[in-house]
């Protein structure tokens, strides 16, 4: 699943216009005309350097979100209650890793290797979705993630699948197809708790209360404060604004939560019938920034798991890259 509309960028790189100046104006015009006609850009095609940079950033962070996103739920595979839930959860988390694989491949078509991307993830240079820096405390958290975070990710990914870069769009089409099954299993497990014993319902309500703010953060800061969106939307790198996606999510899923007699921890949350837009209390955007910059409850833990995998798997990757160096005969 993907981490929503917010794509982290280093502050000194937000110079879209300056960088664009280096591109040949004729080529740039032809490129923009292709996008306006709805054509897909393919790996060998000419593209502005800033388009390439932004796409690498977007797809790489999406890929990181998939493999880091596998971790909070992954810790529950061994504890999942019963065969049905256990098998569904392993299959789901496995899919997420597969999505990471597809996306790293898509990003590699733009000229950055998987290894370089993983290194940037581990050094903290490249980010992943903020939502995965929160802990999955109980089984109910797994159902909230599987239902609501996956649903939010689908809103984002369905939009991005209509973007301009061919390899990314094709990866997303397959990903969205699989995600729709994840949503079904998440919904099913969520409903089971919502309609279960008092203890199960209480566990679910507690999880919802803790996850609501991260979910509101998921689509990124409000449009009025977001940087460099306009050019990215023209180039069809970013396909919908943060506010639009958030509103679409609230419109579909808040009624489903309320129908089950569950509450959400925001007294101001309501749909304004005259505008058709949802109103809500502003989530704490300072906290959002703090978590992105490493100050969340699980940032360290998540990266440490990836570091473990990188360090302990290094001999295997090394061995694969240098096959046949020396065959040692057994002593006996």
């Amino acid at each position: 699943m993907y981490g929503g509309g917010y794509i982290f960028d280093e502050p000194n790189k937000r110079q879209l216009k300056d960088e664009q100046l280096h591109d040949d104006p004729e080529k740039l015009a032809a490129f923009e005309a292709r996008i306006a006609r709805g054509e897909k850009i393919e790996p060998g095609d000419w593209m502005p350097s800033e388009y390439r940079r932004q796409l690498i950033r977007l797809i790489e962070q999406h890929a990181h979100s998939e493999i880091i996103g596998a971790l909070p739920e992954g810790t529950w595979i061994t504890r999942a209650p019963g065969f049905k839930r256990k098998l569904a959860l392993i299959a789901k988390v496995q899919d997420e890793i597969g999505h990471g694989q597809l996306l790293y491949n898509a990003a590699e078509t733009l000229g950055k290797s998987r290894e370089a991307m993983i290194n940037d993830l581990l050094s903290g240079k490249s980010k992943y979705s903020n939502v995965f820096n929160y802990p999955a405390e109980t089984w109910a958290d797994v159902t909230v993630i599987g239902f609501l975070i996956d649903a939010a990710a689908i809103v984002n990914q369905v939009a991005n699948a209509k973007g301009s870069y061919g390899p990314y769009c094709r990866a997303l089409e397959r990903i969205c197809y699989e995600e729709s099954f994840h949503l079904k299993q998440g919904h099913d497990a969520f409903i089971e708790l919502a309609t279960g014993t008092p203890a199960q319902r209480a566990m679910l309500q507690d999880a919802l209360n803790r996850w609501w703010q991260p979910i509101m953060h998921f689509f990124g800061p409000p449009d009025k404060s977001s940087v460099h969106s306009e050019k990215l939307m023209q180039w069809k790198v970013k396909m919908a604004s943060n506010d639009e996606m958030r509103n679409q999510f609230l419109d579909t899923y808040v009624p489903k939560i309320w129908e089950l007699g569950l509450s959400l921890p925001d007294p101001a949350l309501r749909k304004n019938d005259s505008t058709g837009k949802w109103e809500f209390s502003d989530p704490d955007w300072e906290l959002f920034k703090k978590v992105i910059n490493g100050g969340g409850p699980c940032n360290k833990e998540r990266l440490n798991v990836r570091k473990w995998a990188e360090e302990h798997g290094r001999w295997v990757r090394k061995a694969l890259m240098h096959p046949g160096e020396k065959i040692t005969a057994p002593a006996a």
Binding site: F83, L87, W139, W315, L320, K326, T328, A329, A331
Partner: protein, 251 residues
């Protein structure tokens, strides 16, 4: 005889469940993403095999609900072997364990296709088809890592030395085994072990690995009689952590 069949199926199912549990722990931690995916896939298969066997125990032998049976027993009532109980350790250990375990399963299910215990025949056929892919995976990785430089080779040999006595526990004599052999339910553990040794030798030897002699090691027996390593109880605590909070609830 149903007591003896019960023992055999419980041992097979518990092996698959615990090995599947260990495989599933690799999700997110593999040396390359492709291996995360492979171990997750095999985890699903193994846990699915266990589920299918527990269902036979329930439907044909009067056992209890598979979820209850798998998640609620006391440690001493499990019949898994010590090999599956071991923590994953490094990738070399997990890979060699997977190699030895899956070859043992391939031999066992290959023979169970002809079992006189009818419910096992179709299941054995289906499982054998899945295990075929587990074998392809294990054989390819073991062979390749043995030819990939000194460190990699040394790790493979060390992992084999550690896994081998544990793997012999897969063929620990079963209570009531003679009765099952006489009735044509299965050929018995000794015959399975001999076939397994041939198979693994034929792959390990060309890869340059030195297979320890059966006589030179002490097989890790005990699992089939309910004596387990210190690793099983924590695994069971974890596996049942949610389910045990309310076994009657629907999750």
């Amino acid at each position: 005889m149903s007591h003896a069949i019960n023992n055999l199926l419980t041992a097979m199912a518990d092996d698959a469940l615990i090995q599947g549990h260990r495989n599933s722990e690799w999700t997110g931690l593999g040396p390359v993403m492709e291996e995360d995916i492979a171990f997750s896939s095999m985890a699903q298969d193994k846990i699915g095999h266990a589920w299918a066997l527990y269902r036979i125990l329930q439907e044909d032998l009067g056992g209890s609900d598979p979820d209850h049976f798998a998640f609620l027993r006391n440690e001493k009532d499990y019949r898994c072997c010590h090999l599956a109980e071991q923590p994953n350790g490094e990738y070399d250990f997990s890979l060699l364990r997977h190699f030895l375990f899956d070859h043992a399963e391939a031999v066992r299910y290959g023979r169970l296709e002809q079992s006189t215990f009818a419910p096992l025949q179709p299941l054995a056929r289906k499982l054998k088809g899945e295990i075929k892919y587990h074998l392809l995976h294990a054989n390819a990785w073991v062979s390749q890592l043995c030819r990939a430089g000194d460190e990699s080779y040394a790790r493979m040999q060390a992992a084999l030395n550690r896994c081998f006595p544990l793997a012999l526990g897969l063929f620990e004599p079963q209570e009531g085994e003679e009765e099952l052999m006489a009735a044509g339910v299965y050929p018995g553990e000794k015959a399975l072990q001999a076939e397994w040794l041939d198979r693994i030798y034929n792959i390990l030897s060309p890869a340059g690995l030195n297979l320890p002699g059966v006589e030179a090691v002490t097989p890790a027996y005990g699992g089939r009689r309910g004596y387990h390593t210190e690793y099983l109880q924590p695994l069971l605590d974890e596996m049942g952590a949610v389910f045990r909070t309310d076994p009657e609830a629907i999750w």
